[in-house]
């Protein structure tokens, strides 16, 4: 479903992705973790073309992302993306946020899109917030709207870029619960997160990245309990300290 083949990327002189080779199967849930600045966000942003790759090949849903002939706008409709900062449209209500792309991109009739949107918002526990504006919602609620917004396009792949990092601690679990529910519907998912509970529960693999390179890949059990490299041990000891 997602395949990196020797992908490299530079920001000026900074080599942010180093020879990344990684393949995600359909319906697989992969968690990506690593220290800040390790390139994990850049990695996931390449998949829907928010970042461009310099060298190597990246195939998503059978299409070559770096190929100029690829219709990225079309490909993006198949990929849901959840941002760390939610990025809800502040001038639109929760329901309008969710139905914007289905109506304008998928050309689904307004009434149909709205009922699908209400259903999804109800599913993420926001049945009473259809007409609320983002500024009237808590961070956890905003992130759940953002997830519903992505799901409403019925994507084949869902990408999450540190979806709980901007949240107050008491709101993290409400968002993770929604993500677990999405994973259990056998969605192909790639999640940048340090939430180990989530990884243990739904991830098939954990990919550990440091300084732009994949250092270690394994099942959550292997990775968290028996990290093989010195760098992953050092990283885990830092996030586990508390």
């Amino acid at each position: 479903m997602i395949e990196f083949r020797g992908v490299n990327k530079w920001f000026g002189p900074l080599h942010v992705l180093k020879d990344i080779t990684l393949s995600v199967e359909p319906r697989e849930v992969v968690v990506v973790c690593g220290p800040s600045g390790s390139g994990k966000s850049t990695l996931i942003r390449c998949i829907n073309g928010l970042e461009t790759i310099k060298d190597g090949d990246l195939v998503v849903d059978g299409q070559h992302v770096s190929d100029r002939a690829t219709n990225m706008t079309q490909l993006r409709t198949e990929i849901g993306f959840v941002f760390q900062q939610f990025n809800l449209y502040p001038h639109k209500t929760a329901l309008e946020n969710v139905t914007l792309a289905p109506i304008h991109v998928r050309k689904i009739p307004r009434a149909e899109a709205k009922s699908a949107g209400r259903e999804l918002l109800a599913k993420v526990g926001l049945a009473d917030k259809f007409d609320a504006y983002p500024a009237e919602l808590s961070g956890g609620q905003q992130q759940r709207v953002a997830i519903a917004r992505s799901l409403c396009m019925r994507p084949k792949i869902m990408l999450f870029d540190e979806p709980t990092s901007a949240l107050d601690p008491e709101m993290i679990s409400e968002v993770l619960d929604v993500m677990v529910a999405v994973a259990e519907e056998s969605m192909t998912m790639m999640v940048v997160t340090h939430e180990m509970g989530f990884a243990r529960k739904v991830a098939k693999r954990v990919v550990f990245i440091d300084a732009g390179a994949i250092v270690e890949t394994g099942t959550p059990e292997e990775f968290f309990s028996h990290p093989r490299t010195e760098r992953s041990r050092a990283f885990l000891s830092k996030i586990l300290r508390h």
Binding site: N48, L50, G80, Q85, N87, H104, R149
Partner: protein
């Protein structure tokens, strides 16, 4: 003597009305056209094409960096030399519209650039096309930033329309020149002309400061 002058001033009211009408028509047409073109230019200038953005930027700088009086002379006196015949009214409309477009373009660009990149990325990630991103996500948010200075700019442009009297259009300012030949009291005549401009502009000034306060307050509620 002042009564006599006032009396003949009152006699000039048809001319004054004509002048006011001319100023209003010139301002309305060029502001409407200038707003449309200014938004279009602003969207293009903030777009991906560097060439287009550069060309528009250079033109805007040129227009902003030269006196409007000089521009209007160039349009009215030089273009006919090159074979483009223009009457004074058309020349006035072209000059004012061009000026309005350039100033409004810069206001729109600033508004578009004030929209956080995360908003554009969210729209991109949902598969919205370039036009849909602009129309649905960027412009509505840019309007908060654009509206107060836009109305302020309208005030400046209405006042700038007085320059067209230099090419013989009978607007408010030129009516002042004509009347002062009959009523030799410059202070009185031009005080009245100034008052007429002020009466047109003041509601807009009030509107601009109200918009600024209201949108400023609305902005504070939105956490980004």
């Amino acid at each position: 003597m002042i009564w006599q002058q006032l009396h003949s001033l009152i006699g000039s009211y048809p001319l004054a009305l004509r002048g006011l009408g001319m100023t209003a028509v010139l301002s309305l047409i060029s502001l409407a056209l200038g707003t449309l073109i200014g938004f279009a230019l602003g969207v293009l200038r903030a777009g991906d094409s560097r060439t287009l953005s550069g060309v528009i930027g250079a033109w805007v700088d040129l227009i902003r960096g030269t006196p409007f009086l000089v521009q209007i002379f160039l349009i009215f006196f030089i273009l006919p030399e090159l074979g483009v015949e223009l009457d004074a009214f058309t020349a006035g409309i072209i000059g004012l519209t061009n000026l309005a477009s350039c100033f409004i373009c810069e206001i729109v660009v600033a508004g578009i650039r004030a929209v956080p990149t995360g908003q554009v990325e969210a729209a991109l990630a949902s598969g919205l096309s370039r036009w849909q991103r602009m129309r649905q996500v960027v412009l509505p948010q840019a309007m908060r930033v654009v509206l107060p200075p836009l109305v302020g700019q309208y005030v400046l442009l209405i006042k700038d329309s007085s320059v067209v009297s230099a090419i013989g259009l009978t607007d408010l300012t030129r009516v002042g020149w004509l009347v002062v030949q009959r009523v030799p009291n410059g202070l009185l005549v031009f005080a009245l002309v100034g008052l007429a401009y002020f009466i047109v502009c003041y509601p807009l000034i009030l509107l601009a400061s109200r918009l600024e306060k209201r949108l400023g307050a609305a902005h504070a509620e939105v956490q980004l």
